[in-house]
């Protein structure tokens, strides 16, 4: 399972984000992107020493400033379901348009020497997302 898939699944869930500078942000995840940049709603920011607090209706956090994110335990079970269905889709699509290798080429570059053939193919999920992003 990819960390960013888990983060995507955690949308609309509460979470705690600790930044590298020690500040923490508690809020509901609105959206996130491939760089871990995130949007939070109904945020409580806590200073490094935990002695000062700020409330804000929303905030945007640059991914590179994050140290870690704490996510509700149940979210990890929701990812599994999503991964399975997406894998099915990508397999179906492959069978459906066998001759369109050209279109798939950018994705194929990322399959790390055929590792994508493994049953637990998170790679496939990743590949599937890639062309979408390019298009």
């Amino acid at each position: 399972m990819l960390p960013l898939s888990l983060l995507r699944t955690a949308q609309n869930h509460p979470m705690l984000v600790e930044l590298k500078n020690g500040e923490t942000y508690n809020g509901h995840l609105v959206s996130c992107d491939n760089w871990m940049n995130i949007n939070l709603r109904e945020v409580i920011c806590t200073s490094r020493d935990g002695d000062k607090f700020w409330r804000m209706p929303e905030c945007y956090i640059r991914g590179s400033t994050i140290k870690y994110l704490r996510i509700p335990d149940e979210v990890i079970d929701m990812v599994k379901e999503e991964t399975v269905t997406k894998n099915k889709q990508s397999r179906d699509q492959k069978g459906g348009r066998g001759g369109q290798n050209q279109r798939n080429r950018p994705a194929a570059r990322g399959n790390f020497g055929g590792r994508a053939n493994k049953p637990g193919g998170q790679q496939k999920l990743f590949q599937k997302n890639k062309p979408t992003k390019l298009a």
Binding site: P3, K20, K67, Y68, I71, D73
Partner: protein, 96 residues
């Protein structure tokens, strides 16, 4: 290219972060930038005066930038540890 971390997935690992903290948990996944999913994690807080304090934390995504060391934990050995008798200096943060 396979990462050596593949063999750690679904095993108990210890992650030392660059701020000197020690997280223990089940590695559920990782990516190219060493972002980690740690499930059922806890932090071990070391001190020279009292034994090791364990703080339960739950599900975590740790950003790869902050990961210094990832180690596989031998659960048999780990279960035999008596953490309350272990005293140690906490690690210092990495100096950049």
């Amino acid at each position: 290219m396979t990462s050596g971390l593949d063999s750690f997935v679904n095993h108990t690992v210890s992650i030392i972060t660059s701020d000197g903290r020690n997280f223990i948990g089940t590695l559920k996944g990782f990516d190219q930038t060493i972002n980690m999913i740690l499930d059922e994690s806890h932090e071990r807080v070391y001190s020279t005066t009292t034994g090791v304090e364990q703080v339960m934390l739950g599900l975590h995504i740790i950003r790869g930038d902050n990961v210094a060391i990832i180690g596989l934990i031998d659960e048999d050995v780990d279960n035999r540890l008596n953490l309350s008798t272990i005293k140690a200096e906490p690690l210092n943060p990495v100096v950049h």
